[in-house]
């Protein structure tokens, strides 16, 4: 097993190298450049040129043939934007934002926990609502409950998150005033940073009021973000359960006189877990990359909106660093999903 995990982690290296080349190229294929955006309506050709030189955007992208021909030194050939970028990631430096001059790593460290908390919230919603709903639908196939669950999950998948988010804010924050409309913590509340995970940090320091404040802020965005995964999980659970419930060992368990509850939850659900785990793992992976819409509506300081805005602003270091980080997360999550298969199905072994 550990050899398997090690192999997967080593496999991460070529993935990341490939990603860096791909992202570097893609982000530069978009026309426009940061110097122009930085100067805005005030841009003049001279000012743009000066700023490009200052930001090293005037260097060639991949190979500096001009400098090489001039000096004949191989070192000058790699005096280019790509090799500068590659060199700094190899040194573990993701660079600084062109606009804010903040280290990409610092900003990632601040934003990833926010994204993680929101993703966990969304997945919890999906598990707590989706799995029981799917089980109930499967147990009472073709009943009213089943129709409600299947049609609700269709509705959930098709629901525009933007609209749902606005609706939740309007009802629960503006109209009823039960929950805060947006943000991660109320102004005036602050939690000294340990891990960056607000709920965890405030619990660790015994700040119950702050923890409660953070949880209250999480509820609406987690509901909005969890809608689609909930629907997917419910449908997947229903399908997997229906298949398992028809198996011989379920019939045997029933014949032994076990209660329906025990048959369902212990015998059937555990065996139906494999496809559910896959769906949950994949959803979690995509939620972790940041949820642009949810983050925008609820003003959640996560990675999605940040990277999205950086693409619009051509803030190359953020796009590059952020995407590499996300690629790494994907590989890690997929590895964890594979490992968990072995846990739920002893027939699966990795060696």
């Amino acid at each position: 097993m550990s050899a398997f995990i090690l192999r997967r982690l080593i496999g991460l290296i070529p993935v990341l190298l490939g990603m860096s080349l791909l992202v570097f190229t893609l982000v530069r294929l978009i026309p426009g450049d940061p110097a122009i955006l930085m100067l805005g309506e005030r841009a003049t050709p001279a000012a743009i040129e000066r700023l490009q030189a200052q930001l090293n955007l005037d260097k060639p992208l991949f190979l500096n043939l001009a400098a090489f021909q001039h000096s004949g030194r191989v070192g000058d050939l790699v005096d280019s934007q790509f090799f500068a970028f590659l060199g700094s990631i190899l040194r573990g430096d993701l660079g600084q934002s062109i606009f804010t001059r903040v280290d990409v790593a610092t900003e990632l460290a601040a934003r990833f926990p926010a994204t993680f908390e929101l993703a966990v919230g969304g997945i919890l919603v999906a598990l707590l609502i989706g799995v029981p709903a799917g089980v109930v639908a499967a147990m009472r196939k073709n009943s009213l409950a089943d129709v409600v669950v299947t049609s609700a999950s269709l509705f959930g998948v098709a629901m525009p998150i933007f609209w749902l988010g606005m609706l939740l804010i309007y009802i629960f924050a503006v109209h009823l005033g039960w929950l805060p409309p947006s943000g991660r913590l109320s102004p005036g509340v602050s939690v000294p940073r340990i891990t960056g995970f607000l709920i965890l940090d405030s619990l660790l320091q015994g700040q119950w009021a702050a923890a409660w404040d953070a949880i209250r802020h999480l509820i609406l965005p987690a509901l909005a973000l969890g809608t689609i995964p909930t629907a997917t999980v419910a449908r997947m659970t229903r399908g997997a359960m229906l298949e398992v419930l028809g198996q011989d060992y379920v019939r045997t368990a029933r014949a032994k006189g076990l209660s329906t509850l025990r048959v369902t939850w212990r015998h059937a659900l555990k065996n139906a877990m494999l496809p559910i785990i896959t769906v949950v793992g994949l959803s979690f992976g995509s939620l972790l990359t940041g949820a642009i819409l949810t983050e925008t509506i609820f003003n959640w300081p996560g990675m999605g909106k940040w990277i999205y805005d950086a693409i619009g602003a051509r803030d190359y270091p953020i796009v590059q660093g952020g995407t590499l980080f996300i690629a790494a997360i994907y590989v890690v999550i997929n590895t964890l999903v594979d490992v968990s298969y072995a846990f739920f199905d002893p027939r699966i072994r990795y060696g």
Partner: protein, 524 residues
């Protein structure tokens, strides 16, 4: 087991209902703007979201009377020029200290101006570009109007200029030029102004904390030289969606929300807990016509375009009663306008006649580019462009509506790629020069395909004329010239819409956008 889960869920729900929204203490002012700062190092910033919080921490030499564009003493108590306006002397406020305890004096002023002016200054900070400074002074050291900055004594600083500039104090009042503590800048010039370091100045509030992606927190400076702040803390929150900013305000999670969407004006008026705040806009949105594209080089065609568009109807439809059609580029809230200009009237019949006269009885085809982002001066670029296109089609001018990514747009219009396009401006400093020199000065040949020596000469003379009345007359002439040749169609001025919670007092938003004295604000 199942029952306990339900009880737990019920308990959670009850708790949610029992605790109302956590409210901050009454001594905290929560300000919802459309984004967090890019940086607090004011000269490296360009946007109101950066400059507004920065302005609370660091101050300019010349300020404004609150809520106006009239110059007023700030860190300089008075200033004077020599006869030719080539040497300006500023007398500084005495006994002022930066938040780090170091003294504010002429050396500190010189340090700041040198840092901005000299691209090779040792404490400039890596990757920092002082675009606002570059813009105001027309370039950097060696290429701009600043010849030398002289420290006369502890509290007197003298600027020697290469040319006479009658409005130099207005330039110094530009919001980018906030005096930073030299000690703080020198400690870490690269990271100065970032969330980790913040900024250090002389202002009514001190930097306390910047939570990345979330908020910037400032605390009252109890040693402030002027009127001390009424609130203990200011929290700036960055909320990009105008509807979300309004939701925060309505939910009581913010005291002030700026730049709201005009469609929400009736909602704000109806809500008894809110007070709408309207402001005279200093912005201008315009429709540019590039004369490098045929048949737009013909002044009759350009006039026909202006006559074909019913500005008033479009402004009425898309500015929710907050905008006003523009007849010239300098807005009514600013001086330097021409009394002689009457707007080209909406006259489709006349437009068709002019087109026929110019040899296009059946109209012609061209491209019309609209901005991919909304700005105060064009709150809804696409629908406005569609409306303009349909008015043009009415007289036979068939335009293909086009847009592209904002970054590309900003470089393409300067390369003359667009025959017709929308753009606009919000001023850096309160002077007509900031509008007219920008549009019709050295950039006009690129942006408009219009190289008019008469206008260029008027603009240069207006820059150096010592007397305000004379300058005003020259700017009026510039606008009359633009009006006659229809070099560009001034479209609308928009008055931004803000709102406060009821009971918030003393808030005077600046017509210039970001220079607000928040020390005067009290919250209920």
């Amino acid at each position: 087991m199942r029952r306990s889960v339900w009880i737990g869920a019920l308990a959670a729900l009850v708790m949610v209902l029992a605790f109302g929204p956590a409210s901050a203490s009454a001594q905290t002012l929560i300000y919802a703007q459309s984004g967090l700062p890019v940086t607090l190092d004011s000269a490296a910033a360009q946007d109101g979201n950066s400059l507004r919080p920065a302005y609370q921490i660091t101050e300019t030499l010349v300020g404004f009377e609150p809520g106006t564009t009239n110059l007023a003493p700030a860190l300089a108590v008075r200033w004077e020029a020599n006869d030719t306006s080539t040497v300006w002397t500023f007398y500084l406020r005495e006994g002022v200290r930066f938040h780090d305890g170091t003294p504010f004096n002429a050396e500190a002023v010189k340090f700041n101006f040198d840092r901005w002016n000299d691209p090779d200054h040792p404490y400039r900070g890596e990757g920092k570009h002082f675009a606002g400074f570059e813009y105001v002074f027309g370039g950097f050291k060696g290429n701009n109007v600043l010849k030398e900055i002289e420290v006369v004594d502890e509290y007197t600083v003298r600027f020697h200029l290469t040319d006479s500039v009658g409005f130099f104090p207005a330039m110094v009042a530009a919001i980018y030029l906030q005096i930073q503590s030299p000690t703080a800048v020198m400690a870490d010039p690269d990271r100065y102004g970032t969330p980790e370091v913040g900024s250090v100045g002389t202002g009514p509030f001190k930097f306390e904390e910047w939570v990345i992606g979330d908020r910037v927190v400032l605390r009252r400076n109890d040693d402030y030289w002027g009127e001390k702040a009424k609130v203990e803390q200011v929290v700036f929150r960055g909320i990009p969606e105008p509807t979300s900013r309004l939701a925060e305000l309505r939910a009581g999670a913010a005291h002030i929300a700026v730049e709201l969407s005009p469609e929400d004006y009736p909602v704000i008026q109806r809500d008894p807990n809110l007070t709408p705040v309207l402001q005279d806009g200093l912005n201008i949105g315009y429709v540019a016509i590039h004369q490098g594209h045929k048949p737009l080089d013909d002044p009759r065609v350009r006039r026909a375009i202006a006559m074909a568009i019913d500005k008033e109807a479009i402004v009425e439809a898309f500015y929710a009663g907050l905008g006003s059609p523009a007849d010239q580029h300098v807005p009514p809230a600013m001086w330097g306008r021409s009394e002689k200009i009457t707007d080209i009237p909406y006259d489709p019949e006349g437009a068709r006649r002019l087109l026929a006269e110019a040899g296009y009885p059946n109209g012609f085809e061209t491209e019309f580019w609209y901005m991919p982002v909304s700005r105060p001066y064009f709150p809804a670029p696409q629908p406005i462009a569609e409306a303009i296109a349909s008015y043009l089609a009415d007289v036979g001018i068939r335009v293909r509506l086009q847009t592209e990514d904002w970054g590309t747009y900003l470089s393409d219009y300067l390369e003359g790629k667009f025959p017709m396009y929308m753009l606009g401006w919000s001023p850096d400093y309160p002077d007509p020069d900031n509008y007219l020199f920008t549009f019709f000065g050295p950039r006009a040949p690129d942006a408009l395909g219009w190289n008019d020596p008469v206008t260029q000469d008027l603009l240069i003379r207006a820059r150096t004329a010592p007397d305000v009345a004379e300058r005003a007359a020259l700017y009026a002439q510039v606008q009359e010239r633009v009006h006659e040749t229809v070099a560009q169609i001034p479209f609308a001025h928009n008055n931004p819409l803000h709102a406060t919670r009821r009971g918030v007092e003393g808030w005077l938003p600046s017509p210039l956008g970001a220079s607000e004295p928040l020390q005067l604000v009290s919250v209920p």
